[in-house]
Assembly symmetry: C2
Homo-oligomer: 257 residues x 2
């Protein structure tokens, strides 16, 4: 209990910084676009119910609509067929303790600046480990690409043949899950997978391997450039949507000094 109050005091004094890794949820934030034969996420809507007016003299509030995988959001194992029969695989049943875990941040911003289809690989992570130590079990791996700093058009980067955005290759996802036991994988882009990941084997390898092993995804993160390579602790607590496959959420990072 003492150390918890020390944490709260450190947050209050600024000795521990609380970094907001979340984009503002608004109608103009780009939503994932799937091939046209598939169901699509609803556009974000924010509809005023009252604003200190005849509809409610003392109060302002809105109704909101969005997809579970819109904006800065969390993916639960039930999101993917590989995780569909796992226990406690939805946002309302997952263990609460999984909502707090440390992060390893791998900076690939230089590579992503040169190649929008840049893929994270096992050798790149091994090079990171040579510098920062082996990725411990139950840590988040966050892929920094600085993609969150782009304008919306370049952020989605949709071309005739689909999105072109960086992400992990199949081998590194299998390895992070099986050999490193990560709790999840997070990106700055619209999905945990690369824009062209539908053509990989297996398709969407981040979704495939993470959720098949009961692990989580985070995407549309920002401010990863404010995190150290190791030592930050991520709080990622999704909405408790009944049998929800994921949800927009506020992702915060605690960073010591």
């Amino acid at each position: 209990t003492k150390s918890l109050l020390e944490l709260a005091n450190a947050v209050s004094s600024g000795a521990v910084r609380v970094v907001d890794l979340t984009f503002t949820l608004s109608p103009d934030f780009p939503v994932i676009v799937l091939p046209p034969e598939f169901g699509q996420a609803a556009p974000v809507r924010i509809q005023e119910i009252s604003r200190y007016d005849g509809r409610g003299p003392a109060w302002y509030w809105n109704n909101v609509t969005f997809g579970e995988h819109t904006g800065t959001h969390f993916d639960a194992p039930i999101h993917w067929f590989t995780g569909k029969d796992l226990p406690n695989n939805a946002v309302d049943t997952m263990p609460a303790k999984d909502m707090i875990a440390p992060a390893c941040v791998i900076d690939c911003s230089a590579q992503a600046a040169k190649d929008p289809d840049f893929l994270l690989t096992v050798p790149i992570v091994e090079a990171w480990e040579a510098q920062h130590g082996k990725i411990p079990a139950r840590h988040w791996v966050l892929l920094r690409t600085d993609w969150s700093k782009k304008g919306w058009r370049d952020y989605a980067n949709l071309r005739d043949d689909g999105a072109h955005t960086p992400g992990p290759n199949p081998a590194v996802m299998k390895w992070l899950v099986e050999e490193r036991g990560v709790i999840g994988f997070g990106t700055e882009t619209i999905g945990t997978d690369a824009g062209q990941a539908g053509h990989m084997d297996p398709p969407y390898p981040a979704h495939h391997f993470l959720h098949g092993a009961g692990r989580y995804g985070l995407q549309c993160l920002c401010n990863l450039d404010q995190l150290p390579a190791t030592g930050a602790v991520i709080v990622a607590s999704p909405l408790k949507i009944q049998n929800g496959s994921g949800s927009p959420l506020r992702v915060i990072a605690l960073v010591g000094s």
Copy 2:
């Protein structure tokens, strides 16, 4: 940094418990009912986009709709007219450090069991302080009533003259804000205010005093009976809805052993 990793390890080992204070967000959770001349919150909707089927062969996901003040939710200062001109008064602009703060839990479950219109008063809080010490600044005060254990009908407790549920009286809210400097006030009931608070002076005193001073509200909390009177740390990080007045959220408490 070291103490942050110690925290993460303590969460992982179970030495620090993560208690979920959140109700499941579903269409049958009771929503606040205002007088009929006012705008009302939309019913909760969870609409399947695909479920490992022709609409999306490998994935399951939903679109969701709800009001900002539905389910276990957070109230920002802009929600009330008293807070409408304060700086950083919406969920997207509030300081991230305010999302982590310790809690004082005041157990009034015995009184609320006898009287659904039970009101928290200054003398009751002073009696609590005589036992547990003075409420420190920037702490949450959480009112335990065990209201969260009721069936939905008794939970809303709507009668011809409106809702009958416990809450704070005007004097205690003014005092908690001005004399104790609380960061916010949380309840197990549908609002931070009592069911009959529309008839108080000022109407809805929790909303009036908290938001006028830039402080926050939490409501529809559960599992408060699992928290110690002092020492728990609350993580309450609302969705980053553009100019949002509040939002459903996952509220978790860290409890030492």
